[in-house]
Amino acid sequence: MGNLIKVGMADLNVCVSPDSITTLGLGSCVGIAIRDPVTKIGGLAHIMLPDSTSIRNNTNIPKFADTGIEELVKQVVAKGANRGRLVAKIAGGAQMFSFQSKNDMVRVGERNVQATKTKLAQLKIPILAEDTGKNYGRTVIFYPETGDFVIRAVGKPESVI
């Protein structure tokens, strides 16, 4: 058993097998795990907002889907992963509250997932599995050794995607 590396909100980190990497309590944020299955080098990003270009105060790279995923890819490649072999799994993007609002911030979970998919497609990184949307929080643990993405939620059995 390796170490468990923790990633906070608006944060990212890389991880080499046998270590694993986790982020706790994803709500409307999205957790993006990428991995090179050969070198078993991976990484996890916890993004909060879909688009850095629509916000003026955008220097916090891991906060946004677009810049966060780019940075995550850069860092796993720097660690020794092969850019062309990278695959992804994603989780989160829940809508935690359901009150009606004209404010589209309420649908930010959905927009985060969409932006994540767009960015990964643009980088030609296939999404192997996802557990997104719905209305509950998720804790995720990613194992670069196997590519297992373990998902825990309150009052639900643990699942592996």
């Binding site: 909100m9 706790l24 309590g25 709500g27 907002l49 935690m96 009150f99 609002s101």
Partner: protein, 204 residues
Amino acid sequence: MDEITLEKMSNEYFDVLKELGNIGAGNATTALAQLMQCKVDMAVPQVRLLEFKEMGEMMGGEETIMAGIYLGIEGDITGSIMFLLEKQAARHLVNKLMGMELEGEEFSEMEFSALKEVGNIITGAYLNSLSSLTNLVIYPSVPDLTVDMAGAILSVPAIQFGELGDKMLLIQTQFFDEQVLDGYFILVPDLDSYGRILSALGLA
């Protein structure tokens, strides 16, 4: 209103917020005591500006199960307000309110609506003080309640603060009846409402 960031806000504004939190929480305590028909005390609220990473830890970890009540705000200012309470504290309040001693993991539908009502009264009392202090008209929306991990609940206001900067403002309030109940208020005005609150308070 360009270049407003929470980091740049003055100490004066903090003091006002603290005072607002104090009065709001005071009103909330009175409302709570009436509802529960018992004595409820309150400690002086703490106003904190926290990094996103620090928030979950402050509440005992991102996976601490909390009850979160969330309301939209309309009127002279727009935005939202959230009140968070640890699950045990929520359980305690609901039991007391309903005159039962249940220790179940899940809240029943009736307990859920009782809890929603508690949240409604507490946030309503808080918004009333904000409204009377600023002379701004504030209408709260129908509340929504969820019981989940602190990190997941907090992601909602954190994302809204995230449009503005990398920190969020939290008002921590301790209530006491026979036990300590830690509650947290998070007020998230929309970007253009900050200026309105500040000028209504004579600070802009």
